[in-house]
Amino acid sequence: MSTTATVESLPNSSAEPQVNYLNARYGVKSWLLTLDHKRIGLLYLCTITFMFVVGGIAATMMRLNLLEPQGALVEPETYNKLFSTHGIVMVFFFLVPSIPATLGNFLIPLMIGARDVAFPRLNLLSWYIFVTGCLVMLYVVCTGGVDTGWTFYPPYSSAYAHTDVFLAAMAIFIAGFSSILTGMNFVVTIHKMRAPGMTWFRLPLFIWSLYATSVIFVLGTPVIAITLLLLGVERLLHAGIFDPALGGDPLLFQHMFWFYSHPAVYIMILPSMGVISELITAFSRKRIFGYSFVAFSSLAIAVISFLVWGHHMFVSGQGVYAGLVFSVLSFLVAIPSAVKVFNWTATLYKGSISYEAPMLYALGFIGLFTIGGLTGLFLASLSTDVHLNGTYFVVAHFHYVMVGGAVMAFMGGIHFWWPKITGRLYPDLWARFAALVIFVGFNLTFFPQFVLGYLGMPRRYAMYPAEFQALNVLSSAGASVLAVGYVIPLVYLIWSLKYGQVVGPNPFGAKGLEWTTQSPPLTENYVKTPIVTEEAYAYENAPEPEVARV
């Protein structure tokens, strides 16, 4: 890569504006019909940001309602719709596509030295399918919402719910196809489109983690599609597929639902882990510790994730012996996850660490993900789960992994590659301030929920006994801080599009092919196909950062 960096040295004469993927063509049509993976990544970014706001508004209203034991804001029925909307939108329309469809789309071809993904038209199609799913979901939200929770458990969803369960399920069904196309595209791209010299063990770890994610996309998503289709058929025909009175088994839905939805949480966290590997190495200016361990742990997580779904069903009537097996298997996931955390920590050791905004997010990720992961072990143990299942402890656990993990890494990744995406730098001081606000707000929101759950407060209720009020108020206060923390980056990132400091190809002095081409890159990414001559993260011969280290 060091060789290519010189080959690619660009006409960086700042006098005349350079041609790049953003200014190569103008107009709405040039965006809506684009086949450029970078533009499609940005289309996804706008879409999921909007959906994040929708899901965030629902969360804000929930936290406001929980300020008072009797419910401060909404009717209990409305509260049910709020948490369902929050869950469905955040899981299926934000977290699942978050890193893969935005950063993944943008970076995979750049990182492996390709001109585009293998199937650009399918890539654009996947965005349109995703938008269709979003619109159907928004239609459901606007016309009365859905109140089943994001898990759609029958027989409530199939027989009793009076809300528009069918359309909500179809929204997820549609969005699922965009995941499948994305996963397919990525697997083929990573297999077939690598630049000369880019062997599997020279790939950035971000690519490995996205490869593992794509495997889950491909093997898991069709199952949720068929499951929701079965639910839709049952809801329309009442043929008894999930109705015990007619010989059906509601638990079968849970099995098939979690066959996808448990691996789906690794769809959300694996790409984040890939981002963190990039950030940690870049800001400690060291090679990753144990490259192959980190790479293979991604694949191990992807495989094991399919063997553990029954731990969501310990108290739902699943057979005791099946529960035992699932409990034991669930502990296995801790091993590759811990390998990653240890290796990141070992990478930091004796590194030349600087604390730019992306690094703050990365460090926050390691701490919060560790808490989220370890509390997961409490829930994987059959006996403690009986006590904790269905309480706020579970809510806190998965928010530590999903928000403290996935969203932190998403924010870190967006900040890290923002100069590559836009050619401009955000105001660093504000960025570091926002990272801190998010970290504090997040812990204030969700740590009390661990305590609440342990004390026995069940999730998904609009009301609670008065003794829980202090902790709930604390949590709601934290949510306000968190909301502010998310608004600040939205403001300064948009601001930076026009007023941000213009930077060169590699502001952070990072390694990786994507930093050797101009910022923003050309439509075809590289002037000529790069030839890779060294391993990833060879920071001993990395270029000096353009921006001052902090």
Binding site: D116, F119, M193, I226
Partner: protein, 225 residues
Amino acid sequence: MSDAALAHGDNPTGFAHQFEDLEQQHDAGRMGMWIFLATEILFFGGMFTAYTVYRSLHPQAFLLGSHILEVKFGAINTAVLICSSFTMAMAIRSAQTGKRKGAIIGWLIPTMLLGATFLFLKFRFEWYHDYIEHTMPGFGFHYKPEWGAHAPQVQMFMCFYFFMTGLHALHMIVGIGILLVLTCMAARGRFTSQYYAPLEISGLYWHFVDIVWIFLFPLLYLIRY
């Protein structure tokens, strides 16, 4: 799905800019289709899982349900699909060996006709019959006295039957659509012994749909004991 195969047919050689050469493109397309088929295996697999669970829970009802179906139509349709797989394979072979476009079209059209025959038999003699006989769930399903206490589960079997064969028929319709496009492409002389990837990739899809039926036939029709 088929876009993987058909998307890049813009210029006469069908070469897309993001690839280094035609071989890489051909390889990528083929691999994309295999991965798509993997998703299809899991998609139909979800139904097979549900089917397996309920058949093990209600063997007697599934036996009664299977007797509603007529084996002869299932068997004939299996043969029809196998024939269409054969003609599809021959269509690809004639492109591989650089035959004239007439030869390719000459194999594609029978493939389509056989697919249409399958659908015609299925809809006209099976589904329509079930509708008349009130054995179509959701369209006036009547419990028959000979089913006794098993009647609700017989209905569940029929639900699976229509769901599985319905999804299969949907795939067939998509497949016939793809074949139409391929026929047009062949008629314009797009395919050569060097460039026949769309044909080959669509063929994979067509054969896969055949395989699904190969499993549906014994699972739905052939429960006699």
